[in-house]
């Protein structure tokens, strides 16, 4: 099984006519994802390589029965596009856009929680989600994932998500679902949401978690793991050598003083019984060991 999406998930792409939307939307379809429509205002009635276009999300949902949306629009329009998806009846929204203002994210997140309680937002600023062999929504290169499980992956960093997939696939270890939650200050989906879903998924037998410096999400996840997680978790936290007080790209990846350091996060995870590794390769090898012993 997989979490959040599967082979039956019908997906629309908001921004399918743009350069990135077209490239990744078509790539997701080639992977086997049920891409059933695209949304760009003014482009209704046309098509992109056979994918029907609609002017609004509502029209697309009514015509196709889609439940998921891949939102590929520039930062300026991202918050409105996410809310349009929720208003249009979409229940799983993937936002890959990097560079959305923090206040837009905070307002959007809280509006979703208050007005659309059944809707899950993944991202913004994330690589998306892939259930190998079933569904790929986002910008992950599908060929680096291996179907069949038994490992679930959750990661805060885009490229390290790929690295984690790669390390496992190279060793012949498949994945149930790989979720990139993104490194922005207000992520729609967090570590705990994914850990809980993996814990509940009978086909996921172990979880790999990739964190990074900044914030306290890893520490919160550690608390949750200690109380609720029965499956083994392997973790890697990027940024051990990061100089304090400097912002390293992600809005999330900043450390001030002693809070949010990789060391503090690793200690909290270790204390919760997580296998903490020093680099992605080591994490992959540790997971091989765990899967073999299952």
């Amino acid at each position: 099984m997989s979490i959040f999406v599967d082979e039956n998930t019908k997906v629309i792409v908001q921004g399918l006519t743009g350069g990135q939307g077209r490239f990744h939307g078509l790539r997701n379809r080639d992977y086997g994802t049920k891409i059933v429509g695209g949304v760009t205002p003014g482009k209704g009635g046309t098509d992109v390589e056979g994918i029907p276009m609609f002017n609004t999300v509502r029209e697309a949902v009514d015509a196709t029965g889609a439940t998921a949306s891949f939102v590929v629009v520039p930062p300026k329009f991202a918050a409105a596009a996410i809310l349009e998806a929720a208003e249009g009846g979409i229940t799983f929204i993937v936002s890959i856009t990097e560079g959305i203002p923090a206040h837009d994210e905070a307002v959007t997140y809280n509006r979703l929680v208050e007005e659309f309680p059944g809707v899950r937002l993944l991202g913004p600023n994330c690589p998306g989600i892939i259930s190998p062999g079933k569904c790929n929504i986002g910008i992950t290169s599908g060929d680096i994932a291996l179907p069949g499980g038994p490992v679930g992956i959750v990661s805060r960093s885009g490229t390290l998500t790929y690295q984690a997939l790669h390390e496992l696939s190279q060793q012949g270890i498949g994945q149930t679902t790989c979720v990139g939650i993104g490194g922005d200050p207000v992520p729609g989906t967090n570590f705990i949401d994914c850990l809980a879903a993996f814990e509940a998924d009978p086909e996921t037998l172990a979880v790999m978690m990739i964190g990074e410096i900044g914030g306290s999400e890893e520490e919160r996840a550690a608390e949750w793991i200690k109380l609720h997680m029965t499956k083994p978790v392997v973790a890697y936290v990027a940024g051990v050598t990061a100089p304090p007080g400097r912002k390293m790209g992600h809005a999330g990846a900043i450390i001030s003083g002693s809070k949010g350091t990789a060391q503090a996060k690793m200690a909290a995870l270790s204390e919760a019984g997580v296998f903490v590794c020093q680099n992605p390769t080591e994490a992959g090898l540790k997971m091989v060991e765990i899967v073999k012993a299952l």
């Binding site: 990135q20 290169s141 100089p243």
Partner: protein, 380 residues
């Protein structure tokens, strides 16, 4: 983007927040001119983006023109924790009856806005939080609903601000929240927020961090982008629009994505090397960006080898490969380059580089192998 105090005060003023009358001065004569205009006594404040400037002698009270000349002369050029003072803020000195603290920031754990208000201002808020946490009134604000005056009134009472200050403070807090949200700040902080003996409330300091992601709706921020004295490598990278941080090691690092870039630093460190920099070329980087990145790294004399670590997602590896070749055409790269390329269009990317591989342009199959090779080349 962190603002200087004077920029923060200018920004506050745009949102109707009361600040002391003053102006900037880059020379002793300018300081005198401002002092004469705003009226003695005045305070001269060093404009540096670092804390502890008071202790370092960067804030001085001047009662007359001789004081202004003497202090301005001392403070301009002063080195405060590695930041040299090039600019002063000169303002009319306020009489202070009480010092408060007020700020707004994002509460990442709760995904709401967080207001902090204290009747014990003028000292570091971290110290107050540590020693007397009850002295801070925290207010969780739903970003959808915002902060209204009625809530602000309850808040100033809860924080036990002096009765005479409460109504003015509540109004000021609503304005500060407006500046924080509509003004797209990551942080808007006033410490101290003062009450004068004649019962006026105003901001004596301003600490503002702007959210760069919101630049597209704030053309007025251009005025804040002053040339700061900084690492020449960082300056060059900034001009080229790269996300670069200078470090002290010998292995130049180029990676896509902040997480992978940080991880690359970690791995280089683990195999016994030291990174010369952090450089994230971001998502969707094309050949031009890659070429610019190599040029910046190449300009760093400490760099002995360059490790290009790319895992394509939205970034296409063939574009990265083209950028490497483009850079080699444009500038003479003096250090050997070790590349590790995986992900989107990796096969195409490797094929583009294949005919050009040499002892100074090397590919390795894994991140760890590439790190080892780059470190070996840097130490030999």
């Amino acid at each position: 983007m962190d603002l200087f105090e004077y920029q923060g005060k200018q920004y506050f003023a745009q949102y109707g927040i009361s600040v002391s009358p003053g102006d900037i001065a880059d020379t002793v004569d300018e300081a005198v001119a401002v002092a004469e205009r705003v009226g003695y006594p005045v305070v001269l404040k060093a404009q540096v983006k670092v804390g502890g400037r008071g202790k370092a002698g960067g804030v001085q009270l001047a009662a007359n023109v001789d004081d202004v000349r003497r202090h301005a002369n001392n403070i301009l050029g002063l080195d405060i924790k590695g930041h040299v003072v090039h600019r002063l803020w000169v303002e009319h000195a306020s009489d202070i009856a009480k010092e408060y603290y007020a700020s707004f920031t994002l509460d990442r754990a709760n995904k709401t806005h967080l207001g902090m208000l204290s009747a014990q201002g003028g000292v570091e808020i971290e110290v107050v939080a540590e020693e007397n946490p009850d002295a801070i009134a925290f207010l969780s604000i739903d970003p959808v609903r915002g902060l209204d005056l009625a809530t602000a009134r309850r808040w100033v009472a809860e924080a036990e601000l002096d009765e005479v200050a409460r109504e003015q403070a509540a109004e000021l807090l609503v304005k500060l929240y407006d500046c924080y949200t509509r003004g797209d700040c990551d942080l808007a902080e006033i410490n101290p927020l003062i009450l004068t003996p004649d019962n006026q409330v105003h901001a004596l300091d301003a600490k503002v961090t702007l959210d760069e992601n919101a630049s597209f709706r704030h053309p007025e921020w251009e005025a804040f982008r002053v040339n700061e004295t900084e690492d020449p490598r960082e300056k060059m990278a900034k001009e080229k629009g790269l996300n670069y941080i200078g470090l002290d090691g010998s292995v130049g690092i180029i990676a896509n994505g902040a997480g992978l870039a940080m991880s690359t630093l970690d791995v280089v460190n683990q195999v016994g090397g030291t990174a010369a920099n952090f450089l994230d070329i971001g998502g969707g980087a094309n050949a031009d960006v890659m070429a610019a990145a190599l040029e910046v790294i190449n300009a760093d004399p400490k760099v002995k080898s360059i490790f290009v670590n790319i895992f394509g997602g939205i970034t296409r590896v063939d574009e990265v490969a083209k950028g490497v070749l483009e850079a080699l055409k444009r500038v003479s790269i003096t250090s050997p380059i070790v590349l590790r390329l995986d992900g989107t269009n990796a096969v195409e990317g490797r094929a583009i580089l294949a005919p050009h591989l040499s002892s100074t342009l090397i590919t390795e199959a894994t991140m760890l192998d590439a790190a080892r090779r780059a470190v070996a080349l840097a130490t030999n």
